[in-house]
Symmetry: C2
Subunit: 241 residues, 2 copies
């Protein structure tokens, strides 16, 4: 039976932009698991009520509803033990949790750069929910939140130093081949790429080059999604002046 994944989408159903869902899309591809993705909007809480919570990703496997990216990744590893390992073994699973948690912090670090751009892409029915919930959490308007993003860019790039040094020395966080640790950390960058023209990473940054290697994985799965890239940025920026 084909699995189903509820996947956050924008006004365009093909624009998928959850950092947490992207992790799982790549994890499913890594394990060669055929999955139907269902475009889901922030306000469609009723559709995933069976999962017992209100956020995506939600994976549906027969009558099992699994939520939370770390829980889903572990479910896939345990349920499909004959597919390539997401973690690289028992020790690898332990070592991967910190990546997952670090990537969550990365989402928080990137949000003040892309918060307003996201608003341009969410479905009409989600706009008010998105703005109200995010402004409440941030304690300021989306416009104010991103206003000084250019000034904050050097500090953001500086916190990527350990990632940068690592990816200068080896092609993937998992070593020669990507593992779930890669997908977990890739998620926030792909999220930003999917909804914002803002150039978070310099083109020759080893983090950017690693991101691009992951865009090429699984026949370009992540690259095929509607997103911004350097060339496109200019056009988009010009269009939105």
């Amino acid at each position: 039976m084909t699995l189903r994944l509820y996947d956050l989408a924008g006004a365009q159903p093909e624009r998928r932009f959850s950092p947490y869902c992207w992790r799982i899309r790549l994890a499913l591809a890594h394990k060669n698991i055929a999955t139907e993705t269902i475009p889901w909007r922030f306000t469609e809480k009723a559709e995933i009520a069976a999962s017992g919570q209100t956020l995506v990703p939600v994976l549906v496997d027969g009558d099992r509803w699994i939520s939370g990216s770390w829980t889903i990744a572990n479910y896939l590893e345990d349920t499909f033990p004959d597919s390539p390992s997401l973690f690289g073994g028992v020790s690898g699973r332990g070592l991967t949790r910190f990546y997952s948690n670090s990537a969550d912090s990365l989402v928080s670090a990137i949000f003040p750069f892309v918060a307003f751009d996201i608003l341009q892409h969410v479905a009409d029915k989600d706009r008010e929910y998105y703005r109200a919930s995010r402004e409440k959490r941030a304690g300021k308007t989306l416009e104010t939140l991103v206003a000084d993003r250019h000034a904050r860019l050097p500090a953001f790039r500086a916190i990527l130093a350990p990632l940068r040094l690592t990816l200068k020395a080896q092609p993937f966080l998992g070593g020669e081949r990507p593992l779930y640790a890669d997908y977990a950390v890739f998620g926030p960058f792909q999220w930003a790429r999917c909804i914002s023209p803002f150039p978070l990473l310099e083109e020759d940054d080893p983090v950017r080059l690693w991101r691009d290697r992951l865009l090429d994985c699984f026949d370009g799965l992540a690259r095929a999604a509607p997103a911004y890239d350097t060339e496109v940025n200019v056009t988009f920026a010009d269009q939105h002046k």
Copy 2:
């Protein structure tokens, strides 16, 4: 033949306080490798000249001189394949490099809290070298560097969030048992603990509890070293008023 490790020491030869050497001491214990540690001071560059550089840890195995904690860890893993793995396999080795680099950033984050306390412990002949080299790097005096450390403490503790979440969910970074990833990140905390009474971590912080679990490993190897702990802090602080 017993290996030798040049290990940074203070005025007291037993006070070992390099975050990078501590990683290797625990790695050697993990692999059950008998090693003689040689107390070394910052200015004893000539003693490790055969390593081709000027910093510890330096491991001497017969006529091989190996320097750099990551290089040494890999050397131990490859040279002693029958001892317990430091990385948890091939994937684990890939996954561990980011921990090593993250821990190096942690050293930089902790330094402005303990920079002046270190001065109280370095050997007399190292004092001028230590102060001059560190003040040049920081662009300010050691006293100025640490002056606002109480105000900076909440921000420091906040950056530990991914580590804290991870160690709330599992006993070690490597999962159920410690791996080199643990030793790499433990190093900076043990360094601070060995030379400063400043309480970087709250007593019930999962990061602190994990640190304490590592103090107990290998028959309390890291706990046996001269250091400060909560009880001692008060005394030391009072003594230095």
